[in-house]
């Protein structure tokens, strides 16, 4: 904090506002935007991975794998995602500690589920109660990220499954005619070709993911919504910077942030779509060929 801000109650006007906006809690607020971006950066590829596995499983000739894949794809259709979010985080946390409990707790320890408590021996806590606050934060964040990845993986599986089905049969049959094996057709033809069909769905998924990030706040992660609520609420003289109820302004700020994210994504994804359509046997690809000719 700057020295001129040492006594906030003595200053006013613009310098007050400057000191207010650079207070420790505001700096935390600005960092929390990075938390959201980090969540997107981790979740998007992870969800794509889950989705790929799910879609491949759903196309498998092996019945149990196919059933599992199709169930995974169907799960987000019937039940609101928020239910999974509220539920998975606790379930994952308990599952991880249970696994560690099996590994490290002395033999003969009682099972963790005791009445209303979930209790493992101190060595099996994740993270340990002695670890620094940073680890606790990181763990909470990671749980949220994994939950996001599982739920959005199901959406991605749905998109990729559709895209794999959309690749023209003729292309696959031609490859087979050249003597490629099942695996080779999958790796060399199906996967490279499906992206152009999957992109519209995946673009939408990315937009959904952006718009789902406020739910982080429900998962106990201190994200931008948490700070907007916390900072915007009216403050009595107990605080260094007393003020009235400013939540509306903070939320307007969040609205602008999200609209900018959407706009930028739209522009970038539009460019990517153009690149992927090149040379494809689709309407967009045809239009490009005509324009070039």
């Amino acid at each position: 904090m700057l020295s001129s801000c040492a006594d906030p109650k003595a200053i006013e006007g613009l310098s007050w506002l400057f000191c207010y906006l650079t207070s420790g809690k505001h700096i935390d607020f600005y960092w929390s935007f990075l938390t959201v971006l980090l969540l997107l950066a981790i979740t998007a590829p992870a969800a794509l991975g889950f989705g790929f596995v799910g879609a491949t499983a759903a196309r498998s000739p092996f019945l149990p794998a196919r059933m599992l894949g199709k169930t995974y794809i169907a799960m987000v259709r019937g039940v609101p995602d928020i239910i999974y979010f509220l539920f998975f985080v606790i379930a994952l946390d308990q599952a991880i500690e249970y696994l560690k409990f099996l590994a490290v707790c002395p033999a003969g320890s009682p099972l963790p589920w005791q009445g209303l408590e979930f209790r493992v021996c101190p060595e099996a806590k994740v993270p340990l109660s002695t670890s620094s606050a940073g680890w606790h934060k990181a763990y909470g964040f990671l749980l949220a990220a994994v939950t996001f990845a599982i739920v959005f993986g199901a959406f991605a599986a749905n998109v990729l499954y559709g895209a794999m089905q959309a690749v023209p049969r003729a292309q696959l049959e031609t490859a087979e005619a050249y003597g490629m094996s099942h695996k080779q057709v999958f790796r060399r033809i199906l996967v490279p070709q499906m992206w152009s069909y999957a992109l519209p769905g995946l673009s939408n998924l990315w937009m959904i993911l952006i718009k789902a990030t406020p739910l982080l706040f429900l998962l106990g992660v201190k994200d931008i919504v948490y700070y907007a609520r916390e900072l915007g609420g009216s403050k009595t003289q107990a605080y260094e910077f007393p003020h009235g109820d400013w939540r509306l302004y903070y939320f307007l700020g969040l609205l602008v942030f999200y609209l900018c994210m959407t706009r930028v994504s739209e522009i970038l994804l539009g460019k990517l779509a153009g690149r992927l359509s090149r040379g494809q046997a689709t309407a967009a690809g045809e239009a490009m060929r005509k324009a070039a000719a």
């Binding site: 904090m1 906030p8 207070s23 420790g24 809690k25 700096i27 935390d28 992870a46 606790i90 946390d93 308990q94 991880i96 500690e97 560690k100 005791q114 009445g115 209303l116 408590e117 979930f118 209790r119 493992v120 806590k125 994740v126 993270p127 340990l128 109660s129 002695t130 670890s131 620094s132 606050a133 680890w135 606790h136 990181a138 763990y139 990671l142 994994v146 990845a149 106990g220 609520r229 916390e230 609420g233 009216s234 009595t236 003289q237 107990a238 605080y239 260094e240 910077f241 007393p242 109820d245």
Partner: protein
């Protein structure tokens, strides 16, 4: 992802071996003067000072964690922290799921904050924070309760006319009424609900509870607890203190 998790767990394990036993204190961080997160982003308020002093007396290393009020007990049960110190009133209902220390603040009054002294509590909804003793009290006494997740929102509801009044701890509402310049007033009617404010522990943590109990008692005995309660930045000189009652059995 799994590897990453495992790595986290392993590093956490390593870090844990180096440090001494740390007790994690969970609080809400939105209920001044009991506890709040100050502009530096740190936990502050009466319970911050009290908690640090108790840890010193009990010879424990403590860290602070904040958690939303409505999930503060579940997160204690699942081990995210070891103690709740968040202005929590001792009630039999909560006593069935957690164990309380002896109270560190005597049974305090809950007050109604409204726009005018003659507000009719039966005429409209009364605001209270979700899963507080006040919310239950309003619902059980024939008034219409309207619940909000944070204390901040309950007061906002009165200001903008959503609710006729808000029922909360008097110590929380008083500074708000004082600073409102007459726009908000405390009603004369007050309620005494709950059996004082205490720390909450998991039922299985009897040893830890014993340590904090002894520390609270020692602060009652030498009068430091009363001195802390009446500090002007916390509850002020007019607040009910332990006095002679606290010194019994020293």
């Amino acid at each position: 992802m799994k590897k990453l998790l495992l790595a986290t767990a392993l590093v956490a394990l390593g870090a844990g071996m180096a440090a001494a036993q740390t007790v994690r204190l969970g609080t809400e961080g939105a209920y001044p003067p009991y506890n709040f997160v100050n502009d530096k982003g740190e936990v502050a308020g009466f319970e911050r000072e009290l908690g640090d002093e108790l840890c010193k007396r009990a010879g424990l290393t403590c860290t602070w964690v904040t958690n939303e009020w409505d999930s503060i007990i579940p997160n204690l049960q699942s081990g995210n922290y070891d103690v709740i110190i968040a202005g929590m009133s001792i009630t039999p209902e909560r006593g069935e799921v957690v164990d309380f220390s002896q109270p560190y603040i005597p049974p305090a009054s809950s007050a109604y904050l409204a726009l005018s002294k003659d507000a009719d509590l039966k005429s409209g909804p009364v605001a209270a924070q979700t899963s507080t003793i006040q919310a239950a009290f309003v619902a059980e006494n024939g008034m219409t309760v309207v619940e909000y997740a944070t204390p901040e929102e309950t007061v906002a509801a009165v200001k903008n006319g959503e609710a006729v009044a808000v029922l909360a701890d008097k110590d929380y509402l008083k500074p708000i009424a004082d600073e409102s310049g007459g726009a908000l007033v405390l009603l004369d009617r007050e309620e005494v609900i709950g059996g004082g404010v205490g720390m909450a522990f998991r039922k299985s943590d009897t040893e830890l509870r014993g340590k904090f109990d002894a520390a609270i008692k020692s602060m009652k005995c030498d009068g430091t607890l009363d001195a802390m309660i009446v500090k002007p930045e916390y509850f002020g000189p007019e607040t009910k203190v332990w006095g002679e009652e606290g010194k019994q059995g020293c």
